[in-house]
Structure formats: structure tokens, C-alpha cells
């Protein structure tokens, strides 16, 4: 792989990668089971430079911000490289947000350029807030011939215009401390948390990750997590590219096509979130259970594999003992990476016993991709691994059991939250990133997590949900006041998993909680995407404590509720 210590920016590293491995495949794109195209590194360069040339022609300059809103595909990576080539700052946005949220983040980030997939642009231009969009240049991909683009240009025209291939865009060098990306960790409705990550953050993260899990030319990574997310941006773009490896995109998350892809493309690595892994486990268990005589034999082989790989994984042995299982994954799968949310140890053990190591890690957008990762020396399903090279972890104010807030110091920690010095100062204290997660370092140096200090939840799909994200939905309810909490913030428990949000409501004097009010709560809740919904409500009978400027003192209110009410008897499910 490239020696990333020699580079000052992602753009520079990627530029050299395209020259170093010109004939290696870098991207394979399929639409379900139909392969649509393959690109070598040289072809990737030919596709990207006309886009970069056009951006410069349009007036896109160094340090300008450019957003991408697309599902995983080669155009995402091509556009990102073109932006870096021009010295731009990338704003990768989650394609699953609603148009109002997209528009809010485009405004917050002050993106001058947007590259977006047609069906997502179509939804944005139909939104009432569209007229407020200030982004100057919009490139739309895959728009049908007569589509209304509302003034946007076609990405394909830009890339395919013959004159573009004659233009030599100017490579704009950036320094390590310059911002590379603004990545929103969440907080779309309330206070957008735009993490400003520098080129150094990314280069150092890549160095640390590839020290444990190096890619080689020809290795194949299946990219199903969204590329805007911290994990896939690194493991499904930057990491493979600086190692000469190949990324495979399917334009679908249907399990049947993912299963086929493993075999068709001989996949070596894939990143998943816990939800996906649990689904995979469920499917495999059902498959292994029948017929009974085969199930019994398989279980014996799995037990034998487990015993023989207790100290270290042994892919060759596992593929021999459990050949049929591994052939189902194409025969070349080396590991899954999982992160983004709590992962149950039993699921990790299940895959390990099959000879498919699942590298479990912990990270947060504010610190790049990962701060700890399991290295299988030996396998520890009960932890989130050891700090990556270059990462320091300390436990702040540990209690008698050694549990306290996890703080991180590393060259991968973001420089700041965009335009929010107050939140930045609360979060990065004396050079340490205060994660808001509770943990302990065990005698072998592994980090174990024990819940959250902060008022938020992480879904099984790896999404951070803060109360501010959803409080708008309940504004205007005919009650005195309300507040949303993560249930574990009120009643802390020393474990992760089964997280839910709940609504604390305070009725007007003499008001009763009627069926109509309950129905209205439920109706409003249903307008939220399923992963953002509140799980229940409780009724509080005192005025909420407030500051002089009338903001709710959430931590005090949570303490009061927690000390006076029992979760089991006071929370009503919605």
C-alpha cells in the first residue's frame, strides 16, 4: 500500500493510487445480479478528471464545500475524488434523510455544489423548503431524458462531454490540517453536529486500520453500508484505494443479491451494522437446522472448529472443516467488520465458530472511523477491542468498578463542530474527546462499554438519535410541556442494547390524559421514520426545571424523574 505518512491530503494519496495500479480493478458495479460496469484505476481517473475540470470551469475553488447525496455506487467515489482533486471539502450526506433534512444540512454546511441521484433530487425539488436552497451548482445522476431538473445539470453530460476530456484540471494541493470532510453525526432537526475532519484525521485513521487489516491489490470489499457513513467511507473507499484493492457496489440491499455477490465476486471483506449481522445469523441458523442429521454433523464440526481456533482464527482450517458454509460465502471471505452500534457477543461468537471472524470495534464520527478494534489475539466477543495504534483512551472519574466516561486522544479526532465553538469546547476538553459513553479498560487493555452518559440512543442500524432530532414532531401538543429522553439517561443501566426514547409529558392543571391525546401522540409518532420513534411516554406532575432563559434543565429533570419514578411502572408503551 501507499506510505500515507508521505501525503498531505486524501486527494494526493488517491491521485498516486490511480497512477500506481492503473490496470488493477478498483470498482465493480452491479444492479442486483447484473454487472453494469467495471473500472480499473486508470479508467477511474479518466472518469473523474472531466468532472473535476467542469467543477473548476463552474468556479468551484479550493476549500469550497461540495455535498454528495447518493446511494452506494461508482459515481459517488468518482465525484468525491473530483472534489478532492479541486481542493474542495466534501460534505457526504445520508441519502435516507427526508428532503427537509437534506435542505437543512445543505444550508448549514453552505455547500456550493451538490451531486445527487435523480430520485432524491426529485423529492427535494418537490419540498416546500426547496425555494430556500442556496447551493449554486447541482449535478444530477441518472435522470430520465425528459425529467424536470429544476435548473440542475446532468452528471453524465459533464462526464461525457467530449471537450472535457481535453481539459486538464488543476490539482489543488491541501495541507494535512485542512478540512477534508464535514460529516454530520446527527442532530438534523435540532442542532446539526457537523464534524470537521481534516486530511490528517483520515490519513492517520487509514494508517491505523490498515496496520491491523491490510488490503492488497485484487482484494475485494463489498460495500453495502452507506458511503457517507464513517465506516464505509474509510473501509469502502479510502482504505481499498490506497492499497490497490477493489470495491464492489450492488445497487440494492436485498439479502438474496448480497448472498449471490459473495460467490460471484469472491468477496474478502464486508462491513455491516449489528442489524444486518443479526439478520444474517437468523438466516444461517434456519438453514443449518434442516435436515436434522446434517444439522447434528454440522454442529459437531462447528464445535471442533471453535475448539481448534480458540486462540487464533485459522481460515485455512475453518474452510476445510466447514467447506460448504464457506462456499456459501464465496470461499474467500476473510472477515466482517462491525460497528456503529452495540453488537451482542453471542452473534460475534456464532460467526467466529463458523470460521468467519467479525472484527468488532468502537468509534464515533467525531474521531473518524474507529478508536478501538478487536484483533483476534485472542477473540474477545465481550469487548470492543484494544485502542488502535496511535489512539489513547482514558476513563474519566472511574467508579469503584473502574467504569467512567471514555475519553479519546488521537490524531484522528476531529478539529471541531462546524460553526459551534460552544459544543466543540464541551466535547473536546484539553485535547481529549469526551465521548459520552461509559466504559472500562480491562487488564488485557480491551475496552468494555457499559452504557451512555449522554442523552441519546444508537439504533441497531447504527444511527445516532438525539432528542433534538425529533422534538419538533411533538411541538404544539395540547399539554403544558414535554421533553424527550433516552430511557437509559433517566434510569442508567450498565449495559448497552434495547435502547429506547421516551416522552416525558406534563399536563396543564386539571387536564386529563384522554384517549384523544394518546391517539394524537401515537399519530405524531407514526409520522417519524421507524428508527426515530419514541417507545413510550410517562406523565410528570411537576413543572420542568428551567434556566433563566427558559431552556429545560434536562439533566436535572432526568435526575428528578429517575429518583421518583420506576421505569417498569411509569413508562406507557406507545
Amino acid at each position: 500500500m501507499l506510505d500515507l505518512t508521505q501525503y498531505s491530503s486524501l486527494g494526493a494519496a488517491l491521485r498516486d493510487a490511480l497512477e500506481y495500479w492503473p490496470d488493477q480493478s478498483c470498482l465493480i458495479e452491479a444492479d442486483r445480479d447484473r454487472e453494469t460496469h467495471r473500472l480499473t484505476y486508470a479508467q477511474f481517473k479518466q472518469a473523474a478528471l472531466p468532472v473535476a475540470a467542469t467543477l473548476q470551469q463552474l468556479g468551484f475553488q479550493e476549500a469550497d464545500r461540495a455535498a454528495i447525496i447518493m446511494t452506494n455506487q461508482s459515481k459517488w467515489l468518482i465525484s468525491a475524488y473530483a472534489i478532492f482533486y479541486c481542493g474542495g471539502i466534501l460534505v457526504p450526506l445520508d441519502h435516507k434523510l427526508i428532503p427537509r433534512e437534506h435542505l437543512q444540512l445543505l444550508a448549514h454546511s453552505k455547500a456550493r455544489l451538490l451531486v445527487i441521484e435523480y430520485h432524491l433530487w426529485r423529492a427535494i425539488i418537490a419540498a416546500s423548503e426547496f425555494k430556500e436552497l442556496k447551493t449554486e451548482f447541482v449535478l444530477v445522476t441518472e435522470a430520465p431524458p425528459n425529467a424536470n431538473l429544476a435548473g440542475a445539470r446532468r452528471w453524465e453530460d459533464v462526464r461525457d462531454k467530449p471537450t472535457q476530456s481535453l481539459l486538464n484540471p488543476r490539482f489543488v494541493a491541501r495541507k494535512r490540517q485542512d478540512p477534508a470532510c464535514i460529516v454530520y453525526s446527527s442532530g438534523t432537526s435540532g442542532r446539526p453536529k457537523g464534524c470537521v475532519l481534516t486530511h490528517e484525521n483520515y490519513l492517520e485513521q487509514c494508517i491505523a486500520l490498515t496496520a491491523l487489516y491490510p488490503f492488497s491489490p485484487g482484494d475485494r470489499y463489498l460495500s453495502i453500508l452507506p458511503t457517507n457513513h464513517a465506516i464505509d467511507f474509510m473501509v469502502g473507499f479510502i482504505g481499498p484505494f490506497v492499497c490497490g484493492a477493489c470495491v464492489v457496489h450492488l445497487r440494492t440491499l436485498r439479502p438474496e443479491f448480497i448472498r449471490d455477490a459473495f460467490v460471484r465476486y469472491k468477496i474478502n471483506y464486508m462491513s455491516v451494522v449489528p442489524l444486518v449481522l443479526k439478520n444474517l445469523e437468523k438466516g444461517l441458523r434456519a438453514k443449518f437446522a434442516e435436515p436434522p442429521f446434517r444439522a447434528a454433523l454440522l454442529n459437531r464440526l462447528i464445535s471442533l472448529n471453535r475448539a481448534l481456533t480458540r486462540k487464533r482464527p485459522n481460515l485455512k482450517l475453518s474452510r476445510t472443516l466447514l467447506g460448504q458454509v464457506h462456499q456459501g460465502f464465496g470461499g474467500d471471505l476473510r472477515a466482517f467488520f462491525v460497528g456503529g452500534a452495540f453488537m451482542e457477543p453471542a452473534t460475534l461468537q456464532f460467526f467466529y465458530d463458523l470460521g468467519i471472524p467479525v472484527a468488532n470495534g468502537y468509534g464515533l464520527t467525531e474521531a473518524g472511523t474507529a478508536v478501538t478494534l478487536n484483533d483476534f489475539k485472542p477473540f474477545r466477543p465481550d469487548t470492543v477491542g484494544k485502542p488502535l495504534p496511535g489512539v489513547e483512551i482514558r476513563i474519566v472519574e472511574p467508579d469503584r468498578e473502574g467504569i467512567g466516561e471514555v475519553a479519546v486522544r488521537s490524531k484522528t479526532v476531529m478539529s471541531k463542530y462546524l460553526d459551534d465553538p460552544e459544543l466543540t469546547a464541551e466535547t473536546i476538553v484539553d485535547g481529549w474527546l469526551m465521548t459520552g459513553d461509559l466504559g472500562r479498560i480491562d487488564p488485557s487493555g480491551h475496552l468494555q462499554l457499559f452504557g451512555r452518559k449522554k442523552n441519546m440512543i444508537v439504533t441497531e442500524g447504527g444511527k445516532n438519535i438525539y432528542p433534538e432530532d425529533i422534538e419538533n414532531t411533538f411541538e404544539g401538543l395540547p399539554i403544558k410541556e414535554f421533553c424527550i429522553f433516552a430511557a437509559d439517561y433517566i434510569w442508567p443501566k450498565r449495559e448497552l442494547g434495547d435502547e429506547l426514547l421516551l416522552l416525558a409529558i406534563h399536563l396543564e392543571p386539571g387536564q386529563e390524559l384522554t384517549d384523544d391525546l394518546r391517539s394524537e401522540l401515537a399519530r405524531r409518532n407514526r409520522t417519524l421514520p421507524d428508527f426515530k420513534r419514541i417507545g413510550g411516554y410517562l406523565v410528570w406532575i411537576q413543572d420542568f426545571p428551567r434556566t433563566a432563559s427558559l431552556k429545560i434543565k434536562r439533566n436535572l429533570l432526568a435526575e428528578q424523574i429517575g429518583s421518583q419514578m420506576e421505569r417498569a411502572t411509569s413508562v406507557v408503551e406507545l
Partner: protein
């Protein structure tokens, strides 16, 4: 012989039938405006399973993005109807 295009109501009824069968819930418990995540007790990956089943039944191809933002059976039927 020309086959008449099914109506949206007909498509919707078939969607409800298939959803009930696939996730083994009583058909009578499902209504057009219901949130299928909540009513069927499913997550987003299981919703994709339903989409595959519907594709096979109606002989249409529904890209994953057709499900984005869709939570009720009627809108889902509408998306299918548009591709018939």
C-alpha cells in the same frame, strides 16, 4: 388478447394479502393506511423481503429506493401500480 390493467384497489388488496401471508399475520388486521413496519412488526431489511415477494408476484422490478420514505400499504401499492 389485451389484459385489463388491474385497478389500484385490486393491487392494494393483493399487497395486503401477500404481506399477511409472508409475515403470518391475520389479513383482517391489516388496512391500507396502516404503517407496515408497526403492523407487521418488521424492520427495514424485512421490508425489503416483502418488496422481493411483491416483485415476484406482480412481475415488476422495484428498486430499493421506491421504499424510501414509504411506510403505509397504500403508498406501496401506488408505487407498484405505477410500474405495471
Amino acid at each position: 388478447m389485451k389484459t385489463d390493467m388491474p385497478t389500484l384497489e385490486h393491487t392494494l388488496n393483493e399487497v395486503l394479502d401477500l404481506a399477511a401471508q409472508h409475515f403470518k399475520v391475520p389479513r383482517a388486521s391489516l388496512a391500507a393506511g396502516d404503517d407496515f413496519f408497526q403492523k407487521l412488526g418488521i424492520d427495514s431489511l424485512q421490508a425489503l423481503e416483502l418488496l422481493t415477494r411483491l416483485e415476484n408476484h406482480f412481475h415488476v422490478e422495484l428498486p430499493d429506493y421506491e421504499l424510501q420514505g414509504v411506510t403505509d400499504f397504500r403508498t406501496l401499492a401506488d408505487r407498484i401500480q405505477a410500474r405495471l
